[in-house]
């Protein structure tokens, strides 16, 4: 996991190495100062040598300036390395996600991917900077101070050694205990947020049923729980400061007592005693710092795990070694295809599909929710791989094609389609980067999108907000169809893409398809019978199997499901704006 992440440091290796080096230099300078200080007092003040004071004082100022320089450089490189590392991580994740297949995408939720690329990366960035700067600074400072203390007086320095060990153990105990509590606490926190979220979005229901008080008391209970668990967790941390103080104070008093005795017996000087006391603070503060870094790093481990999960994910669809770069025609064939979303699943989503569709045919697909209509068409443009059997387009197995070539020739309008922020023209040109305005217009005419685009004050330059929130559902669907048409595909798949379009327009779009792109194979998934009944042939799907395949008339005669749906929709159960019959 660490290795996966570390690979992304790349060009920031130099900065990553420079940072700790400068930090160590800063620490060294900081350590020299108390040492020089002792020299000033003992050799300068006590002997009355004013020159010594100037000389050593000068050295001290130089040390401070070097320390300043080193500290700033450490900060500079630390910022560079961590910001750069974060940049590389984001980029690597983003690029890797671009190679994901549909099944990879399904595995991570959208929200999950967003969190990984935003919050998790920020966590890692902070932790990395901490590691580079504090992880070297704190131990270095501790070791240097310890070494200095030992050179001054080994016997007194032993007190520090004991103190460090005791404090270290105590800190470890407190931190690990507290972390445990915090890990319990955070999910509770999420629960609370969820309940607030729920009330914000469902406020009409709450108010309609006059349940404000009930919901408030529910939240009060939840927030009381949070209060209790956080008080418990933080009570652990409360011991940190007083414990630290106790150890520091004990050290000071012990060193003072024994130091005084040593001075009396001439085995220690006053200046040395003062330096020792300064080092005491250095050592114990560093330890405290170290423990905080540890907690932070431990907490960012979860983020590291999530990030490396994305980085290590490899697409399960691979381009063939010698890909076919041309799709001959729009014929489609399924040969005994089985398909399951999970490889080792017992229950296939599609079972033994065997179909032959001629180039240029219009095929309707109908069936209840969960009958695997979408799964069926997703195999054609190789958004997923089959588990068994094979799918052929233009007479060749889809696995033989270059994926980009295949997907350019098999254009899908997905069920949950998305427009991106940008002008209408920008969105249309997703289908064909080089498309002229004329071509875009033509595609929109086919998709019956021109009529509303022309009504917009800015026409094709109208800006679409993120997610297409400023156009209606029906408008969005028509724009998505136009976008797919611009690819000039050999196969066009509409996955329930006109559900929000009224019947008349729906019919108009289909008529345009028939007249303008007769050579393109068209597959239309729909809920409404009226959307498919004029197709050349219709597939009736039921529980992952083909239940019927034929013309409207044939199916009406032979297929029970089709007849049932037809009757229910024409005898008053359909949409209001549905035409009766044709």
């Amino acid at each position: 996991m660490i290795k996966t992440l570390a690979k992304q440091i790349k060009e920031f290796k130099a900065a990553s190495i420079a940072t700790p080096l400068f930090m160590i230099l800063e620490v060294l300078m900081e350590m020299i100062i108390p040492y020089l200080m002792a020299s000033i007092i003992d050799k300068g003040v006590n002997t009355g040598d004013i020159h010594h004071i100037y000389k050593v004082g000068g050295i001290m100022v130089v040390a401070a300036v070097i320390g300043l320089f080193a500290g700033m450089m450490g900060g500079r490189f630390g910022a560079k390395a961590s910001a750069g590392f974060a940049r590389n991580l984001r980029e690597a994740m983003f690029n890797n996600i671009q190679t994901f297949s549909f099944s990879n995408i399904d595995k991570f939720s959208t929200a999950g991917l967003v969190t990984r690329m935003t919050t998790d990366v920020t966590n890692i960035q902070n932790a990395y900077q901490m590691i580079l700067r504090m992880f070297t600074r704190a131990p270095a400072s501790m070791i240097c101070a310890m070494v200095m203390a030992f050179t001054i007086n080994a016997r007194l320095a032993c007190i520090y050694l004991v103190a460090v060990i005791i404090l270290g153990i105590l800190l470890f105990l407190i931190m690990s205990h507290a972390t445990k509590y915090f890990q319990q606490a955070f999910p509770k926190y999420d629960d609370l947020n969820e309940s607030v979220q729920e009330n914000v979005s469902a406020i009409r229901v709450v108010k309609a049923y006059v349940r404000e008080e009930q919901e408030t008391s529910k939240l009060r209970r939840a927030s009381e729980n949070i209060y209790n668990i956080f008080v418990k967790a933080e009570t652990n941390l409360v011991f940190n400061a007083p414990m630290m103080q106790t150890v520091v104070y004990t050290c000071i008093l012990l060193v003072s007592w024994f130091g005084a005795k040593m001075i009396a017996s001439d085995s220690l000087t006053t200046g040395e005693l003062m330096s020792l006391l300064t080092y005491c603070m250095n050592i114990l503060m560093s330890l405290m710092m170290l423990s905080m870094v540890f907690v932070m790093v431990a907490m960012s481990m979860a983020s590291a795990r999530r990030i490396s999960g994305v980085l290590n994910e490899t697409s399960d669809l691979k381009n063939p070694e010698h890909p076919t770069m041309k799709v001959e025609d729009g014929s489609i064939e399924f040969r005994h295809v089985d398909f399951a979303y999970k490889k080792d699943s017992d229950e296939p989503v599609l079972e033994d599909i065997d179909l032959k569709i001629r180039s240029g045919e219009t095929i309707g697909i109908i069936g209840g929710t969960g009958s695997a209509k979408t799964s069926l068409v997703n195999l054609i443009s190789r958004l997923y791989d089959v588990t068994k059997g094979e799918v052929l387009v233009g007479g060749r197995n889809v696995k033989d094609y270059d994926m980009e070539v295949l997907r350019d020739q098999v254009s899908v309008v997905l069920q949950n389609n998305v427009l991106f922020s940008g002008t209408i023209l920008d969105n249309l040109r997703w289908g064909d980067k080089e498309a002229t305005l004329e071509e875009c217009r033509h595609a929109c005419e086919l998709a019956c999108a021109d009529e509303f685009i022309d009504r917009f004050p800015k026409g094709y330059e109208t800006y679409i907000e993120q997610g297409g929130s400023n156009v209606s559902g029906g408008q969005k669907q028509r724009l998505c169809i136009a976008r797919a048409l611009l690819k000039k595909p050999k196969v066009l798949i509409l996955d329930d893409s006109t559900s929000a379009v009224d019947t008349a327009t729906d019919a108009k779009i289909r008529r345009a398809f028939r007249e303008e792109i007769p050579d393109t194979t068209k597959l239309i998934i729909a809920q409404r019978i009226s959307s498919v009944q004029d197709a050349d042939r219709i597939i009736v799907m039921e529980d992952g199997k083909v239940n019927g395949f034929g013309t409207h008339e044939e199916l009406l005669e032979q297929n029970d499901i089709y007849r049932e749906v037809y009757e229910s929709q024409t005898s008053g159960g359909g949409d209001f704006d549905e035409k009766e019959g044709e």
Binding site: E198, A202, K207, A302
Partner: protein, 633 residues
């Protein structure tokens, strides 16, 4: 302690009156924790003074004990032992005080946050629907998450730290003055330089942090959009372009993040080294002074002073670091109090809903639940009481409505619904159909005209009682975290299990509920994400059914569910509508056809009304819609 995923959002828009906000926040904290806070202040003072006492001991240690030791051949350690014991006692007191205030602060912090959450939420529940319609839900949520979180950091860390640092600075300053005035002046000059430098650096870094925050927002927005559309990206082979676009944005973020952090990182070494230089200068000057024995300045005095010098720059450092957190917290506090200051929904109604029974042919109020309800109308002028039976007659008279006064979306709506009638609204998107559902239950108040319920102006009815008498099934079904049973019971809190099953049966929901892994006790989470669209609608119908209201408002779902489920939902709705006055925003042919009256809305006006047959006869807009020759999108 900051947990994973809880980053402060950095510099946001400047708050106008940070001082006022701070005071208000303090008042809020003090409201419930006066005693705690006073104790905390006292304990912090004790802890700081004990600490200073310890530092002063350094001076005595050298001057009064060690220096005499050097002069005597046979030193007596007993006085030193006493002194150390005395200091140890002070230290112990200091440690106890530190522990005490830290422990108290946990309660103050968490308790205040709890109170804030409770107050925010209960206030939010009282806000009018308009508030939720006009504010992004994400923004409301972030008040509960980010803003409260910045407050936590401020209350738990910044406030005691500030107090601690302030007291330390004062006491250290006083002690320094006592020890040596010239050295104090030198120290102050150095502190001035330090404050100046760190202000400069913080200013630089602040500007870049703002830029970083902006870039981060852009990058996050891009990521969110692309992750949502990832499947479309794949289908259109748009990966390369995406990578390039992303790289551009990401690089910009890198530059600003790099600079922001660099300047922030400068703060530490600048302060530390200026502190060190200040230390050196004081050492040199102090050394000279001590050598010359100027003004009785001693070596021990120098030792103590140098310690003070060091402990003077530390709290200043801390204050400068905490200032950032405080500025951020104030921005959060601003948003929190803004939400708390939002005006609650007004309710001037005085007509209430009561259980009723008939005695001697007259309707009277009673305690027990009868299946009859009455409006209790207490007349304002003479206090006399009338009872009107709740029947479900609704009349709109010349109603005008707009979401704001400038733009009226419904004009002169007149309608008369007799008890038990079904009124359907049809019309193209944006004609104002859904708006009507907001009026009868007073989610919004009308600008002009009157709506009467059983002959009473709805403005006179207490909102809670009015809403109790109305059932509502919305287009987007919202379910709550809890069991299926809890969700149905939402409609009637004291419903028995039998009633729940009966309601579920009426809504055709019983059979699918029984097939769930735990039946009625199956937990629903994330707005019923584990159920299908149709199943969620069935639950919403059951929830309305159990409330058993005389008037029903239905907004039929347009989303495409498969035909069979749709028929089940439809049937459930039909059963629910039986015998109730129903207003239905209709999308289905059968619903429209069975209605007693159909209102055709166009641009906020009723342009046609009548039964199905009458309207077909008219060959107007309804006929167009019905025969599908109109463009409705």
């Amino acid at each position: 302690m900051p947990g994973p995923g809880r980053q402060p959002r950095g510099m946001k828009a400047q708050v106008k009156n940070p001082g006022e906000l701070f005071l208000r926040l303090m008042k809020y904290v003090l409201k419930d924790y006066k005693f705690h806070c006073i104790s905390v202040v006292v304990l912090i003072v004790v802890s700081v003074l004990c600490n200073v006492q310890g530092t002063m001991f350094m001076k005595n240690l050298i001057d009064e004990y060690i220096t005499p030791f050097l002069l005597s051949d046979n030193p007596n350690f007993t006085p030193l032992a006493h002194a150390i014991a005395r200091v140890a006692a002070f230290y112990a007191l200091g440690v106890l005080a530190t522990f005490g205030y830290n422990r108290l602060m946990v309660n103050v912090t968490q308790g205040t946050l709890r109170n804030l959450r409770n107050d925010l939420f209960s206030h939010m529940e009282k806000l009018p629907v308009k508030y939720f319609d006009t504010h992004a839900h994400g923004d409301i949520m972030s008040v509960y998450t980010n803003d409260i979180d910045t407050l936590r950091q401020m209350i738990s860390q910044s406030m005691p730290q500030l107090l601690n640092s302030g007291i330390t600075i004062i006491s250290v300053f006083v002690s320094m003055l006592i020890l040596s005035i010239p050295l104090t002046v030198v120290t102050m000059i150095m502190v001035g330089i330090m404050v100046f430098c760190s202000k400069k650096s913080a200013g630089q870094s602040g500007a870049y942090f703002a830029k970083q925050q902006k870039d981060l927002g852009t990058v996050n927005g891009y990521i969110e959009e692309m992750m949502n559309g990832q499947k479309v990206v794949k289908v259109f082979c748009h990966e390369e372009e995406n990578m390039q676009n992303f790289k551009k944005l990401n690089d910009e973020l890198y530059v600003s993040a790099d600079k922001a952090n660099t300047f922030a990182n400068f703060l530490g070494p600048i302060n530390a080294q200026i502190g060190n230089i200040s230390y050196v200068i004081c050492a040199i000057i102090g050394g000279v002074l001590a050598l010359g024995k100027v003004g009785g300045f001693t070596l021990g005095g120098l030792a103590s002073f140098l310690t003070f010098n060091k402990s003077f720059s530390m709290p200043i450092n801390q204050i400068s670091m905490q200032m950032n957190a405080i500025v951020m917290a104030m921005a959060g506090a601003d948003r929190i109090f803004k939400l708390m200051d939002e005006k609650e929904e007004l309710d001037e109604g005085y007509v209430t809903l009561v259980n009723a029974k008939e005695e001697d042919g007259k309707l009277t109020e009673c305690e027990e639940r009868t299946e009859r309800w009455a409006w209790k109308h207490t007349h304002q002028n003479d206090g006399s009481v009338d009872y009107v039976e709740v029947k479900g007659e609704v009349v709109f008279n010349g109603v005008d409505f707009g979401y704001n006064d400038e733009k009226i979306v419904l004009h002169d709506i007149k309608l008369y619904a007799k008890p038990g009638q079904k009124i359907a609204f049809v019309g193209s998107t944006g004609a104002g159909k859904t708006t009507i559902t907001n009026l009868i239950n007073r989610f919004y108040d009308i600008q002009d005209g009157k709506i009467r319920y059983d002959g009473i102006n709805i403005n006179k009815i207490k909102k809670a009682d009015l809403r109790h008498s109305l059932g509502i099934v919305l287009q987007d079904t919202h379910l709550f975290t809890g069991t299926v049973r809890d969700n149905i019971r939402f409609g009637k809190l004291d419903a028995t299990d039998e009633e729940i099953v009966a309601a579920a049966k009426l809504a055709n929901a019983d059979s699918f509920i029984r097939r769930l892994p735990k039946g009625y006790d199956t937990m629903l989470t994330g707005d019923g994400a584990n159920l299908s669209q149709g199943q969620r609608q069935l639950l919403a119908i059951a929830r309305a059914a159990i409330a058993d209201p005389p008037v029903l408002i239905l907004d039929e779902a347009t989303s495409s569910i498969d035909t069979r489920t749709e028929r089940i939902v439809q049937d459930g709705m039909d059963k629910l509508m039986r015998g109730r006055t129903t207003f239905v925003i209709a999308h289905r042919l059968s619903t429209v056809r069975n209605s007693d009256c159909i209102m055709v809305l166009e641009q906020g006006r009723i342009i046609e009304r009548g039964t199905h047959d009458e309207l077909i006869e008219e060959k107007g807009r309804y006929y167009q819609l019905y025969t599908g020759n109109a463009i409705s999108a």
